[in-house]
Symmetry: C2
Amino acid sequence: MPQGSPLTVPDDGLTTRARRNAPLLAVHTGQGKGKSTAAFGMALRAWNQGFDIAVFQFVKSAKWKVGEETALRELGRAHDERGVGGPVEWHKMGSGWSWTRKAGTEIDHAAAAADGWAEISRRLSEERHEFYVLDEFTYPLKWGWLDVDDVVSTLTARPGTQHVVITGRDAPQALVDAADLVTEMTKVKHPMDVGRKGQKGIEW
Amino acid sequence: MPQGSPLTVPDDGLTTRARRNAPLLAVHTGQGKGKSTAAFGMALRAWNQGFDIAVFQFVKSAKWKVGEETALRELGRAHDERGVGGPVEWHKMGSGWSWTRKAGTEIDHAAAAADGWAEISRRLSEERHEFYVLDEFTYPLKWGWLDVDDVVSTLTARPGTQHVVITGRDAPQALVDAADLVTEMTKVKHPMDVGRKGQKGIEW
């Protein structure tokens, strides 16, 4: 249950209201489950507040997370058709970013990741969305496909009130330092340890 | 990204298919964010598979998680009206469990929690749902309002294929021992540490 009382009151010249509306940069990292799942759970709240939501999946294969995608697209449809919640966009690297109009043609994953980040940078500068999920985004950082300093400075300098949630293992320290909220998901016990495989409705 | 390869293949006489359909007991615990959020994110996958979903919120106040509730109810509505996904029920202790028909009248939280668990036990024995979220359920266990041994034996003996996800800090060891999947959410950094309060679209 969230605690309503901050530990300290900062001497930053901001009102409580201004602080309450400060844009959040959140990172979900660690070896455990729930990093992406919690990010999509956060998107439910953002949707309910009518925020404009965009998901960018930095994964090679799009076979996972179909459930989350279908559910969030359904919520986007509810917005478009019935005016409840906020609009939802969902972009996947694995099947070609939707704005590049060349679905299925991306062979060079490093180039595709750079392409994705360039688009996100543009959207951040234009304040296109209010809630971004950059799913599995730590991997192109870890593999050197994207420049960590460039990413961190762009995120830090983003204008307006744009919330960004980044997921993935091994978040670089510079990203952790720049983030407002960092949670590490730690595996205590996993069914695969005892030979169970991924399950319908649980893993996808 | 989920790994498809279990570390060991168990000598349990089950086929891969049977193991794949084994009911899951998951626990999200720890001091960090994302325990409930990840559980509701899992519910998106369950919904997409057409599972019958029931959420039981063991919280005193129902003012939090309105976003998740609204979004999941919207998905339940999509099921009911358009036949996509699965049905969704959402029950809150704080405003009176919906089946007890006495909304707002519960003063004794211990009795309300016992009432909630009795109903869940009945539903488990009847195989009423396919995916249960018992949100903040560790607290009535921690506070002695529910008997841990009774809860664990009922969960362990539940018939059929009923997935159960339990959230909350300080999960009792017997529950962790009985669970198939246990993830600990650890706080690395939180905005409240530097005096920021909960935000619209982020915390609720």
